[in-house]
């Protein structure tokens, strides 16, 4: 190596040292030091071999996770960055009469506020664009954002929220999905019905098969609302540049969809929106759509500063999507031996205030609701309804876990009533290779029975069951 270069390095180090001393004298925050850790990389053996099956595949990001070196949104910072907070309505259903942000704006440290009327196209959603970014006319659930503040610190932004005055005219809310689906129910949106999506699947003739069944089982099953609770709350940083382009660093899991939505709500060409995905600290379906990204973008536009917005845990619970609560009516006709002859299912999905990924959830729940069983006669109806609750959306399985709870619960009831071993009744009815699904799809690589057998052997079903 050239000696001169080394001398130069040495000088740099000295300069840094003297900087540190000066820093200590001034009692300023210490100079940030680089963190040392081993730099050699682990060779991902599995990725170089074929077949990969049976090989260990280390996660490409696993090492940095353990070293604390993975950078999530909240670990990133930009010069002059400011912080945004969103005021939540705290009322389930109301008409907004007025929003007064003047006192908040007058607070020292507050740089800008934003209300829904300032958003070019204030509606979004992955399938139906029924959700405002900030509610401007109506509040439809308590977690609806009504105004946002950008300030030099998170605390000032939080304090400023308390100074925003919103006048509401309360509207009677509807919470029970069974109430909401009635014709004369209170309507959450200005639509004729609260039901905003439905699906029917028919196969064979259920009524005829019920008449021929030895036993009929009729039960209702319900599941509750579930929040994803990702360890990392929703977080984004928006930077509007002088060139009228906006860059977003976001915990959003689907940036291409998000980018299109951003362009739509900001009413600008998509090529002016740059989305940068980072490592997401847990998604589980809850980070599949925009949340406050456009709000941050507009606050950045107003202030000329990068704006960071991180959800509080409370925001996460009350205003991000959740898993749909289901009300599931199952009617099943069974032969004397335990063969399922017919199944009629009615699913009512509580969609909360906005559509989000309800249509996907409805479709999947519908198709999977009879279970992995050969049932010649099937009738499924599924409806999703608005209520004045936190909106429900995508969450691991899109409705599959809810219906699984229902049909497997009923299978156990049937087995008990007929005096058949619970494993046996499943083996008797389970799909086999080339079985017909309720929608007529011919299934391949079906291993339900093998899986059941292996599982039963492993946990000693016969011995312990």
């Amino acid at each position: 190596m050239d000696d001169k270069v080394r001398v130069a390095e040495q000088q740099d180090l000295d300069t840094l040292e003297s900087l540190r001393e000066a820093d200590a004298d001034l009692r300023l925050p210490a100079v940030v030091e680089p963190v040392a850790y081993p730099l050699e990389t682990l060779t991902p053996v599995a990725r170089q071999q074929t077949p990969a099956v049976g090989q260990r595949a280390p996660r490409p990001d696993g090492r940095l996770h353990g070293l604390g070196q993975t950078k999530y949104i909240d670990d990133m910072t930009f010069p002059d960055m400011i912080h945004a907070k969103v005021l939540r309505a705290g009322i389930a259903s109301a008409r907004i009469i007025s929003i007064d942000v003047s006192e908040a704006e007058a607070m020292p440290g507050v740089l800008a506020t934003l209300v829904g009327k300032e958003i070019p196209v204030n509606s979004y959603g992955p399938s139906i664009q029924d959700q405002p970014l900030l509610a401007d006319e109506f509040v439809r659930h308590a977690g609806d954002g009504v105004a946002a503040v950008a300030a030099v610190s998170e605390q000032i932004a939080k304090d400023a929220l308390a100074k925003i005055k919103v006048e509401y005219e309360p509207i009677e809310p509807v919470f029970d999905p069974l109430e909401a689906i009635k014709e004369d129910s209170i309507k959450v949106h200005p639509t004729a019905s609260n039901i905003y999506a439905s699906k029917i699947v028919k196969k064979g003739d259920v009524e005829k098969a019920f008449a021929e069944s030895a036993h009929i089982f009729e039960d209702q099953y319900r599941t509750q609302m579930v929040e994803h609770v990702p360890m990392e709350p929703h977080a984004s940083i928006a930077m509007w540049d002088a060139n009228e382009r906006v860059s977003l660093w976001s915990s959003l899991g689907r940036i291409t969809l998000g980018r299109a939505d951003m362009a739509r709500v900001l009413n600008m060409p998509v090529n002016r929106v740059r989305m940068i995905a980072t490592i997401v600290g847990g998604n589980f379906g809850g980070k599949n759509e925009l949340t406050t990204e456009p709000v941050l973008a507009l606050l950045s536009k107003k202030t000329g500063r990068p704006v960071k917005g991180v959800y509080s845990r409370e925001d996460e619970f009350i205003s991000s999507t959740t898993r749909h609560p289901f009300i599931m009516d199952y009617k099943t006709g069974v032969s004397a031996e335990g063969k399922i002859l017919a199944r009629k299912v009615r699913l009512i999905l509580d969609g909360g205030a906005y559509c989000s990924w309800s249509e996907t959830t409805l479709g999947k729940a519908c198709i999977l609701s009879p279970g992995p069983y050969n049932i010649p006669n099937v009738h499924i109806e599924a409806y999703v309804t608005y209520t004045n609750k936190t909106m429900t959306g995508a969450m691991r399985g899109f409705g599959a876990p809810q219906v699984c709870f229902a049909y497997e619960s009923q299978m156990d009831d049937i087995a008990r009533k007929l005096g058949i071993d619970p494993l046996e009744i499943r083996m008797m009815n389970a799909f086999e290779e080339f079985a017909d699904s309720p929608t007529g799809q011919v299934l391949e690589s079906v291993v339900v029975k093998d899986s059941l057998k292996i599982a039963a052997d492993r946990f000693g079903w016969k011995e312990n069951g």
């Binding site: 009692r27 925050p29 210490a30 850790y37 682990l42 260990r56 604390g68 670990d75 360890m231």
Partner: protein
């Protein structure tokens, strides 16, 4: 403003901070040590776990000034330029972490456990990690990672 001097990862670091600054805020925004995370902000999730005087604490519940004059170990100080901590090695090899957000806290909680109890039972590991939530893994691989690290540290298994 209050002057706070900490020995962070073996080095003395000072900063002037307002008294209401939490230890977590000081580490993250003044010292740029972002390994400890803000997860719940109420001391339930453990994502902000760091060691103060060798004991695990929720850095979101401790004021920086309360740690004044004490030793603080963050995840960034666990590995040296030459070697990983055995926990970092086993967690990587077993893919104990998925999204990774809980990882720094979990590894530090596990470290204090292994420092005090080199050969813990699975129940003892669960008890030691009760203050660290993970939403991705279901904890199985995390438990295996701790068990394996204990083995390595006890010399029962070569550090592969």
């Amino acid at each position: 403003m209050t002057d706070v001097t900490l020995t962070v990862n073996g080095k003395e670091r000072s900063a002037s901070v307002p008294p209401e600054t939490t230890l977590l805020e000081m580490l993250r925004s003044k010292l740029n040590l972002t390994g400890a995370k803000l997860g719940c902000d109420v001391g339930d999730c453990g994502a902000c776990t760091v060691l103060v005087a060798g004991k695990s604490v929720n850095a979101c519940l401790m004021l920086a000034v309360q740690a004044n004059g004490r030793d603080v170990l963050t995840i960034e100080g666990l590995a040296t330029a030459e070697a990983f901590h055995p926990l970092q090695k086993t967690f990587e090899e077993l893919a104990s972490l998925q999204c990774g957000f809980c990882g720094p806290g979990i590894i530090l909680s596990a470290k204090t456990l292994l420092d005090e109890n080199p050969d813990p039972t699975v129940q003892e590991i669960k008890d030691a990690l009760a203050g660290n939530l993970c939403r991705c893994t279901g904890y199985t691989k995390i438990l295996e990672g701790v068990v394996d690290a204990a083995r390595i540290m006890n010399g029962k298994q070569d550090a592969a």
